[in-house]
Symmetry: D2
Subunit: 342 residues, 4 copies
Amino acid sequence: MCGICGVAGVANAAELVYLGLYALQHRGQESGGIVALDPSGRVHGHRGMGLVQEVFPPSVLQQLPGDVAVGHTRYSTTGSSVLANAQPGLVNYHGGPLALAHNGNLTNARELRDDLVRKGSIFRSSSDSEVLVHLIARSEAREPEDQILDALERVEGAYTLLLTIGRTVYAIVDPRGFRPLALGALRGGYVAASETCALDSLGAPLVRELQPGEWLKIEDGRIVDLPRLPRKESRRCVFELIYFSRPDSVVFGESVDRVRRALGRELAREHPAPGGDCVFSVPDSSNAMALGFAETSGLKLEHGLIRNHYVGRTFINPGQGARDAKVRIKFNPVLTPPRGRS
Amino acid sequence: MCGICGVAGVANAAELVYLGLYALQHRGQESGGIVALDPSGRVHGHRGMGLVQEVFPPSVLQQLPGDVAVGHTRYSTTGSSVLANAQPGLVNYHGGPLALAHNGNLTNARELRDDLVRKGSIFRSSSDSEVLVHLIARSEAREPEDQILDALERVEGAYTLLLTIGRTVYAIVDPRGFRPLALGALRGGYVAASETCALDSLGAPLVRELQPGEWLKIEDGRIVDLPRLPRKESRRCVFELIYFSRPDSVVFGESVDRVRRALGRELAREHPAPGGDCVFSVPDSSNAMALGFAETSGLKLEHGLIRNHYVGRTFINPGQGARDAKVRIKFNPVLTPPRGRS
Amino acid sequence: MCGICGVAGVANAAELVYLGLYALQHRGQESGGIVALDPSGRVHGHRGMGLVQEVFPPSVLQQLPGDVAVGHTRYSTTGSSVLANAQPGLVNYHGGPLALAHNGNLTNARELRDDLVRKGSIFRSSSDSEVLVHLIARSEAREPEDQILDALERVEGAYTLLLTIGRTVYAIVDPRGFRPLALGALRGGYVAASETCALDSLGAPLVRELQPGEWLKIEDGRIVDLPRLPRKESRRCVFELIYFSRPDSVVFGESVDRVRRALGRELAREHPAPGGDCVFSVPDSSNAMALGFAETSGLKLEHGLIRNHYVGRTFINPGQGARDAKVRIKFNPVLTPPRGRS
Amino acid sequence: MCGICGVAGVANAAELVYLGLYALQHRGQESGGIVALDPSGRVHGHRGMGLVQEVFPPSVLQQLPGDVAVGHTRYSTTGSSVLANAQPGLVNYHGGPLALAHNGNLTNARELRDDLVRKGSIFRSSSDSEVLVHLIARSEAREPEDQILDALERVEGAYTLLLTIGRTVYAIVDPRGFRPLALGALRGGYVAASETCALDSLGAPLVRELQPGEWLKIEDGRIVDLPRLPRKESRRCVFELIYFSRPDSVVFGESVDRVRRALGRELAREHPAPGGDCVFSVPDSSNAMALGFAETSGLKLEHGLIRNHYVGRTFINPGQGARDAKVRIKFNPVLTPPRGRS
């Protein structure tokens, strides 16, 4: 799980991507990065370990001018937790500067990588996303779209991509559509992001979600739809709806909150708790489900646990029962008796 | 509003105070500080601007050895937002090293300060807490308790204090009891903190809350109760219950959650919303009140707004409608229709 | 040994003091500090551990506006090496903001401090300079000059001071004149500094060196001479000429280079080295002496050791013969045979 | 101009390389880097902008375990001053991990790079050293030595290299021998460095300087000489002797100090200064030349300028005559009259 966001055709694009990543922070807290392109085509990039607000203080954002930008916030799945694996990857290849923000995992990355290394390609990161960049760079096609297609033909697995070649932004969802990508309209330009909550935070109306296999480019302020990738069976990731995405997002055409509410109701039907006193959530992931369970079961909804808002990279002395302490500083039971007499 | 926490008679006291401050972070995010005393009486202190987890990385905590420590997390009320105003204040006076952590505001600080300055006292901070330290240092009494009493006799206003003189910790609540202070038992020693949620996070059972005008000292691992300060009319601050404290805390003898639930029920009685569709909170301050309102009104409880967990010191370009943007990145409406059909 | 520098009546005074301290860096590398006063009388200060160029990056200097400034670079003699001991000390007393930069040691600081503490004064540092500040603050005189005289009457030892009260700068040399202080003219205003090399680096012509017991104030752009302090026997510190000061400085009316040259000639007369091959210095302290020795002895001057320019806070693993390594990385012998003709 | 240093077969190799780079700091102050290999073959690297002592605090050095290490200190000649250009470059190619430290400039780097990019190679830096790495990675030879030879056959210009493939260190001097490289014996292993002063600082006796076209590998603690590169006319860079190298080094078989002394004598013969008062150097580059000039001319040697030891990245307000100020803070004239007798 990672978050990606790109803006094209709007002044101060990096600042907008930054706010978009901010809304997507729950999708990855390990590292953040933004690459911006100014009108002359010059590239400005910055990546760092940590939360978006730590990686991008104002002094850094001001050094990322331009009206085109793509950004990434990383949750480590493959590759180790080091700066080299932070995205967007930025390279120069024969087509010019290329930046890539990738959400997903390639299932054949190992074989492709071994093959590329055998042919003399040099890898700097352990991230599977770098394979895509090498495949594009080694394509013998002349047009960027064809180079991208050459690369996509060879990879298997999940890839939702925001990719810049020169000042053109490509937004791509793999044929199975594992991960979401939403397109919004923003001040005469466009924004693409992993979830609609990022569009909302920018005040950008949703244009549409990209469907499995759909890709497009944003060039000179206009959207150009590109021929659908070869069809495969759709494989929407159910954890986007159950756990990953924010409840205020629309993902795969569904309100995440509504889906979770329905799951809670279904749970109440399949596993009722007849003698129960009340229903409460472990905040905040299961808030909506608890509401749904309460609706259907008729049990009273309560707040049973309070979550500390400031929990982050907290130091806990391992000698002091670290695991217990970690839970205790994150959650604390509310003392109100369940039936709530006052 | 500030948060204070002290530990006496437990190894690694600074780490425990750190965890306690962590649970009190909602009471102040401007600065944090801890002063620790080791068994030989040596003093170790550190203060910094920012959140507790930023001010105290492991490398800093490890330099604060000792079994006695007091800490503070500051929300700026008087004095400007600078390191000089971070607490605990630490000084050497004729009684030895003295550290002071203060929650409250002194109403006659200006006059006392002017008087002290006229007599040759030198102030380093603009915080009103420094007045207390000077008053203690200038007392002609011989015993620390008498010096403290000399000082307290002269100040007006709110002061909940954790104060160390040598290795003795004093816990003090002013005669009107504006701010809370809870005492807990911890591994053979004691912990005092602004709210019981800090005790909970340390696994420390509540001994009691200090009453208005109550003070005590913790010395050689034992509690010594001191004669009650002169009685005045109690003036518990109602905002502790309404807004400041965490709902999982017990404050002034009441469960904060229960009080807020009752406020919501009362609101539903006084200002019912007969044609309303649903009730929802602005998370998280009014979560409990919304629950109470829903109980009494019979309206359905919903989640109407999602709060971004990562909002902190975010940079927003003032030219981009900063105030609107600040709200948008903090809260986003959930799209589920209020009556929740799926 | 420390370095002090002050500027009055010149725009961007802090930047000039910074350059002056830079030229005085050899007098102390532990910490640096500058206090600046802007035309409205507001005080701006910054202190830090390390070299002047580390403590004052441009971003910090830009936050020190004003046409009056005093600065200090510290070499630890009394007091431990901590930020609290960095100077200039800056306090608010009944006469307004007071900043003090002190070069020297007070021999009765301990007794004065104990007495002040007994009377309720609070000390933040272990530096003996803080005693002076308390004595001024506790003076019952009404005029700043009289308050300063009250304080100076009580201290014994070495004190060369630059002191600001409000926007007035006081330059003071103790009656024995242990440490040097030079006054220069700078763009319509004035500069005072420990050595003339600092004046040279600012392009400021020397007005005069202050004599033992001399003090003056610079106010509204003019110098006001103040009545000489009570006379005592002069005690110029000979190490200023032998070791501390830079050879390009004039100190106590003498060219440091010329004095060291004369010392080398005298050494050659008192301790000739008749069978010697050559003379060489341990760079750079004894460069001038080696030249003088060669002149008088007739022996040839050589370069025998090369000094690494980048030696600073270098990490050397203690297990690797740290002391030997430290010498080896600082100095390396030149391989040229002494008679050196090729 | 850059400095390179490598150690093989000695515990804590990174610390020794660090001390070696320290002695070579005059060859480049822009950035520093070290790559270390531990006995299991794992690679540990760190690079940063600034002086060696800034880039490698103890906490960083401790994370570079191993008995093989190569390091680099950079003076920017080609490529911009950014971290991406800091060396040693570290990559994974089909032969394993490869680290490269390069002193020199390739004259056909542009064409080689364009060709490689056309073939799908991706460049991360603008440094010409990266070309070498790609050429090695793309070689179809099976043995590392043959891969290196394939690469060297294609490049033109100056390259003195320390290169690791796996745990083997290669030391290479191009056929024209533009830049120096010295080999020393160190605690049962070996050290190679740009200048002998680095060997001296480690207490490592000189084994020999590598001749133009000479290369060797250090493997399993032994040196293996490799067949000389194809001969070309030698092109030793005279600036190594005149300006770049430290006077205590032996470079191209000559004592740098002795060469400079001879240059001073020759200058006195070709351009005598018959009516001159004295001779003095601009410290420290021309110290030896001034001594030689004085010897032959019979003029007296003096110290005319004092150099500030602390000059580094000093901030000077551009509005204050920055160039003049920069000279003034670096050099100040000594006031002793040239004939200097007092």
